[in-house]
Amino acid sequence: MSKKNPTSEQQTEFEQRSRIALQQHAEELDAATLSRLRQARSRALERVGSRKKWRMPAAVSIPLAFAALFAVLLSVQLLPRPTQDETHLFAAESLSDEWELLMADDEIAFYDDLDFVIWLDSQGHAG
């Protein structure tokens, strides 16, 4: 009844042997590596407790949030809004400008060199 499974016994023996070999491997670290590990540890320990976040108390944060919301709503209401005709006009103008720019391929280089063209123009007027 108490007969042990030989495979599992061998496995345990192998694991034990491996553990000893690995531990030996870890103990064979050179002084430079050990020193680097100590430095890494002390760097890590400097971070203990450094992640404390400041939280605004609810008594302050909730009224502040309401005040901000109120300010946004008020500014939306007070801002002069364009009439429906104006809105269409602005949209149409900007769309046509974009199309014009897009369609005139040769004009893009001109826009890129606009500073130079302005300067050239001013030179022409001066001379």
Partner: protein, 199 residues
Amino acid sequence: MAKLEALEWYWDEAITAEDSVSTNAAELNRFLASVEKRAFRMAEIAVGDREEALDLVQDAMCKLAEKYAARPSDEWGPLFHRILQSRIRDWYRRSKVRKRLFGWLPATSAAETDVAEVQDQACVEPLRQLESENFGPALIAALQQLPIRQRQVFLLRVWEGLDVKQTAAAVGCAEGSVKTHHFRAIKALRRILSEYDSD
């Protein structure tokens, strides 16, 4: 008077919090000192490079200290290994991407050696180690041949002594997979190191 009492209470609380941080730091220092050598060797076996391994261990230590120092000390072991193993997996992913993007460039340093190269190199090692009849180095070389999950599970179960549940949490897989990986790892290692079997 009430204000004075409130101030004293606040002061006491502040001192207690400070004491608790220093106690945690001292305890964490002992914990990290107890695991650092094994952690370094695990990382080194995984990535095959000393500098990379040191970086990985330092990252894991910093993250543990920064985020989990306040947790109960018995949770530090599994947490630390979870962080470290996750860093090692990230390293493998980055290596794969680097290889895909810059594979055509000649490798210039040991740090740029990719995973496949590390494993190819490792394939030659066991034979050499068998000849020298040295189980330790042969075991390290054999471990480097294992797939990453099998190696992680074997090291955490056998060396770190984590149980199946803790290992599953550290490696990020199911408990059933831990048992499978462990079994396969031992089978593969015993096959590679059959010369060293006492039977």
